[in-house]
Symmetry: D2
Subunit: 280 residues, 4 copies
Amino acid sequence: MDVNKNYILKIDCSDEKGLIYRIADVVFKYQLNIIKNDEYVDRENGKFFMRAELNGEADLNAFKGTLQAMLPARSNIHVVEARKKDIILMGTKEIHCLGDILLKHDSGDLNANILAIVSNYEDLKGLSDKFNVPFHCVSHEGLNRVEHEAKVLEVLAGYSVDYIVLAKYMRILSSEFVGHYEEKMINIHHSFLPAFIGANPYKQAYERGVKIIGATAHFVNNHLDEGPIIAQDVIHVNHEMSWRDMQKAGRNVEKVVLSNALDLVFEERIFVHDNKTIIF
Amino acid sequence: MDVNKNYILKIDCSDEKGLIYRIADVVFKYQLNIIKNDEYVDRENGKFFMRAELNGEADLNAFKGTLQAMLPARSNIHVVEARKKDIILMGTKEIHCLGDILLKHDSGDLNANILAIVSNYEDLKGLSDKFNVPFHCVSHEGLNRVEHEAKVLEVLAGYSVDYIVLAKYMRILSSEFVGHYEEKMINIHHSFLPAFIGANPYKQAYERGVKIIGATAHFVNNHLDEGPIIAQDVIHVNHEMSWRDMQKAGRNVEKVVLSNALDLVFEERIFVHDNKTIIF
Amino acid sequence: MDVNKNYILKIDCSDEKGLIYRIADVVFKYQLNIIKNDEYVDRENGKFFMRAELNGEADLNAFKGTLQAMLPARSNIHVVEARKKDIILMGTKEIHCLGDILLKHDSGDLNANILAIVSNYEDLKGLSDKFNVPFHCVSHEGLNRVEHEAKVLEVLAGYSVDYIVLAKYMRILSSEFVGHYEEKMINIHHSFLPAFIGANPYKQAYERGVKIIGATAHFVNNHLDEGPIIAQDVIHVNHEMSWRDMQKAGRNVEKVVLSNALDLVFEERIFVHDNKTIIF
Amino acid sequence: MDVNKNYILKIDCSDEKGLIYRIADVVFKYQLNIIKNDEYVDRENGKFFMRAELNGEADLNAFKGTLQAMLPARSNIHVVEARKKDIILMGTKEIHCLGDILLKHDSGDLNANILAIVSNYEDLKGLSDKFNVPFHCVSHEGLNRVEHEAKVLEVLAGYSVDYIVLAKYMRILSSEFVGHYEEKMINIHHSFLPAFIGANPYKQAYERGVKIIGATAHFVNNHLDEGPIIAQDVIHVNHEMSWRDMQKAGRNVEKVVLSNALDLVFEERIFVHDNKTIIF
């Protein structure tokens, strides 16, 4: 292991000549070493994106300030120490995605600490207990959406989280709720979006007679199932499968797609721009 | 090669006890040998589907009559000699799907005879000539849809075809036109339907920021892009790709999906039921 | 749910004219209904394979006897009531495959009862305890292979099992051991066999510079990594990945391939013939 | 289109602190704009790789000289104008890969000019003629390998080529021959290497009973089927398929994998290091 700290630097700004030179210059002056570096220029929109993994020891505030001075106005500069993220998992009744994340957590394959599980049902308490993760049931029974979300927010407020993972949380969230966690909430949707938006995509897929089904992990925004897509994958299906068969087969895709998306998110590999993701 | 003829038998009817026994009994009595046999029962709708490859020498009319007598009323019995199908290809300007089919035809990998190519532009004449296939340009310029389709139908009427393959034919067809070729017309759509119905799916895919794109081969029915799906496949894409990059990459998927679908169609492996396909 | 029992019938025998007719005749006479039926004729070797799902109520011994009388000598006839299988899981230290199976068991998605977990290390005790499955550690320390396997066999003898699942059990088994469980033991190998037979396939894959890695589930026979293959799948990798990155990414493939293979095995969908599998 | 020229810059050298800064500094001083930039550090071997697409107008020799002075000794610096490559295709009898490349060439999707087709049989003359590409048949009949290769080299010497594409050329090439075209010759192998090295991989795959088959595009080196891998892909197969069925299905994979590999090669996206490829 390196004795020096590791940092992740993310910059997005309007594109100009010499940006890489200017940034590399600052990095060099702060005696930081570039371990890994990716850039992308969106030429259509004149936007520059860069992510670097740095090695060394620096005053991050000073480093950021120097960068800011060298870059175009309104540049976004994000520089942090590489560390495990703190997350909360939200679910409803299904255990395949949640259980997969808990197992990865247990075996050290998850780049995050799971602070708690929040659900609108008691069903997941058993799973939470198995893995010694605090469980909060916030039932929606007898509450309208505003009241229920207020209660959920109250629970979440008790934790300092980097990300909230909707691991088959089957309630629609209001814009207000989502607004608290912009680009901080990841959902797994059980279809290859934009196909089969809305309720029971497996039944829709069965009824349409498609030959592939899939899953989509995305950041949650105000518009249901329309947030920036992080990862997608599919499997082949056939006429012998009922929609329940598709649902069962689809669970393997859902959990793998969510797992891959979380790896990308927790390693800070993603930029969101214009409802799309740039992924390094 | 077998000295005896080979037949393909397809039956679909309402499900009853003893169907396989009754059918196998008739097959046995006609001294036919079952080389390959597939059945599927759609239990939800009480429908029985069977496809068999038979070996032997029989009076097909008598055989069909005997089967009819043993099966439920309104059974569909289809029995034919296995042979190459006669097809017409329709295209507009793009050559990747057409060219792929022509190459397979040349190398003996296509289970069909290509009788002609029909297009609304002259662009494909060069390709048709290379492969010595008759080419008919039926321009739509200055014609309304009814007039144009009448002219196309006139050309098609000059041929006795089993199937018409829309290999990137970029004109919408009217219900009247489609009605002439029910379950006889196969189209390749450049998206994983039902995502991105309509014009320029690659541009739609680019704008939505999906991480997979795909293609769908389907029978053409009255409803644009909503016919029974035969085959689908996808590839992964990323943020670096413009919609033109996606289009270019997608061509490989389009031609392979269409090619796979045509194999299934030409070998009579498909039943269409309730806007879905059962494929053996 | 059906009030009648469900049976699975599997037949393999030398191919003859009229087999389906004769079998369907017997099935019909015993008043059994064929829910699903698949046949395959290996024409090169003159072998007939059939699997049927039957619905009804019959004396299985009498049914089997009648079939035997109608079929060629040395036919294999296997007819059983459809039921959950009894299995034992064997592992070493890794939890991804074991945990995945345990989660599926918990959520009712596994068509089997897990009787116990057997390992040569203590590491998996925690996982076994979480899911309330009996755990047996049979350490190999200070024992030669014969002695160690004798101890494992002793533990296994305490259970009546249908199948043993090697869920990343990292010890090579002797022919003698394997001989006790012919076609009853399923292994997951961490490469797309026959590539990278032997130790540390991910390191081999890394060193060869392949662009895909995969996993293979197979029945275990006397020859290491050479048993009949049940299921395989792959993922794409790139030059940025160390062999440990490949190993981590590969775990998702391993567990899904093993899971899919177990579904096929537990539903009795597989015939083994000539070191290959026929799968319906 | 840009009025300025476009260049591709490729650098590989031993890794040092400040490399990106130094390179970006030179690029900036020459008034070149970085359109796209990728770096990779192989930390295990202390190697730095960088590829950049540059926009501007510069004296390439001077530019290269300045870079050389700033970089570690024994750095490889490759800087060229972006342009279509000149290639020769070699084949034997099969047309699927060759035909696919010719079609792409015709539709403007190939980033190369096809100068000629060379084959050891006359079979491909018809295809070459269709597409107006010069065809050279160099029969191996009655010649030993040295003699035959001398004749092929004679033909090749008549052309100035960037790359030679072995599009199902079914003769083994000697080290001497290969030595003339190091990292300049791309082959398509009909298996997912390193599985099924040697003759008739589809037959080997059939006999092993694998559930996936694939194809591998690689640079040719002295060791048969062991050159640096550029691209691989697979499809699923099943017990119903004979090895000829697998061969037919495999052709779609072969041509797509080769096509994808050629795109990468022609855009100069590949570094070869230590028998592996780094691909940007």
